[in-house]
Subunit: 278 residues, 2 copies
């Protein structure tokens, strides 16, 4: 494929922007980490008031064009990208990598295209052949999704459609959390990905998935955090990133603190990279 044949939506991420991200990237594929779970990067873009969107089910463009290219560069560095069902239903996203140089964008095959993973405990996503993710796939520009669900037997017609494209459902048990909610467990999700050969995953959203991963009992699974902050206040009532409160000796304490921090101005935005302080 020559440059002239690159799809119109191809993104370019400047080499000089990659250096500050490198310390937060997963180990090179096949470097054989001993861990039994996928290496996890948490990444998202918020407003100054820590919001992902003006309201649930809407897509709010927060960060500048450079940020979009960065997101797709990050996707190219992970085996999988993960998103919750709410965001998939609201946005009908392509969930591929549009970076120049990956499969479908200047490279043959699907090299550098991450596996989309959708957290959908009740299998409520009503996808069809016209869902954007499958359109991308038919054009050779993305992979079929793996859907993490709690249903032992997802609807057969969904399973059939998914498998036709090379995707699948992965069934994991619901576990009762300390606060009485039935939910999927992060450890088992990340272990399932690893078992599928997906050594790294970039968790992108939405609010429910992010806040759940930032909970005290799951934040240990986060290897890197990469947050883009736009110089905007969306205003009260949007979709907020803020983990549940944390207590120690009956006292409320900060829910989570980052260490090995790097702040990188990026157009009008800033990119914050860090590691969770455990």
């Amino acid at each position: 494929m020559t440059t002239a044949e690159l799809p119109e939506d191809t993104l370019v991420f400047a080499d000089e922007c990659k250096a500050f991200l490198e310390p937060y990237m997963p180990p090179k594929k096949g470097s054989g980490t001993a861990s039994d779970i996928a290496w996890t990067t948490l990444t998202f873009a918020t407003s100054l008031d820590s919001q992902l969107a003006l309201s649930p089910g809407t897509r709010t463009v927060l960060s500048g064009p450079d940020s979009k290219a960065m997101t797709h560069y990050l996707r190219s560095r992970h085996d999988a990208i993960m998103i919750g069902v709410g965001t998939v239903v609201a946005d009908d996203p392509g969930l591929n990598c549009r970076l120049k140089g990956v499969g479908g964008y200047g490279e043959v095959g699907l090299k550098g295209q991450p596996r989309p993973v959708i957290i959908d405990p009740k299998a409520r996503w009503n996808f069809s052949d016209t869902s954007k993710i499958f359109c991308m796939l038919r054009e050779g520009r993305g992979r079929a999704p793996y859907i993490i669900t709690s249903l032992a037997m997802p609807p057969p017609e969904k399973t059939a459609l998914l498998e036709r494209y090379g995707g699948k459902f992965i069934t994991l048990p619901l576990v009762t959390s300390p606060d009485g909610k039935e939910q999927l467990e992060w450890r088992s999700i990340l272990a399932a990905l690893k078992k599928e050969g997906l050594e790294s995953v970039m968790v992108e959203g939405g609010g429910a998935v992010i806040n759940s991963l930032l909970e005290p009992r799951s934040q240990e699974f986060i290897e890197s955090v990469i947050v883009t902050i736009a110089p905007t206040w969306l205003g009260q009532g949007g979709v907020v990133v803020s983990p549940p409160r944390r207590f120690e000796g009956g006292q409320v304490i900060p829910a989570s603190r980052l260490t090995s921090v790097c702040w990188q101005p990026f157009g009008e935005d800033v990119v914050l990279c860090g590691k969770i302080k455990l």
Copy 2:
């Protein structure tokens, strides 16, 4: 006063850190701006989830030691510093400037000491001679506060104590806002300061004061915004900075956007400077 006599709590702000702040500073004192209201800088420190504190009435140390020195440098650049009654009651703050080189910290008199201004519509602050602000003042390290209230006749014993130290109550009318709340108006507050010869004010908090100033109808009064962000999530339930929602043509739109933005990494934190985009 020699260096040996500097108070123990003296802060030093490195010269090389001042440059990035300069474009956001008020005009030099006496440069005779035509405006009939005080030049207003909004400044505060939040967590990643846009919180000032873990809960109302508690003081949460968020930002690093460099940030504290910056705050006091900024105080030295303003004629007044403003804080809401909630924060004053919760923190009993000194509300002075502890920067090396201002009055009480290496300089004679009160040169460079800003006037504390407290927003206290119902005059509920129960100050006494032992309030920290008056202790500072007796040591020659700060000025007496001006208290903005709606009471035509504040309690006489409070007025007497205040006036003994050189402070005063300033009474302004309550106005009914579009959403039916009775409140002080920002324009009249800032006009009152200007009339007192206070050409610039740094609004520091707490949450209610900040969110009120960021409202659509008052954000035009903000000349500069200086926000420090610490790489911490406090967790749901703290004191959040997030202005009321804004609508345009029945649609929710971002409440406020900054322009002329500068992000300055600062220890583990970042400092965001900007102007309100009107």
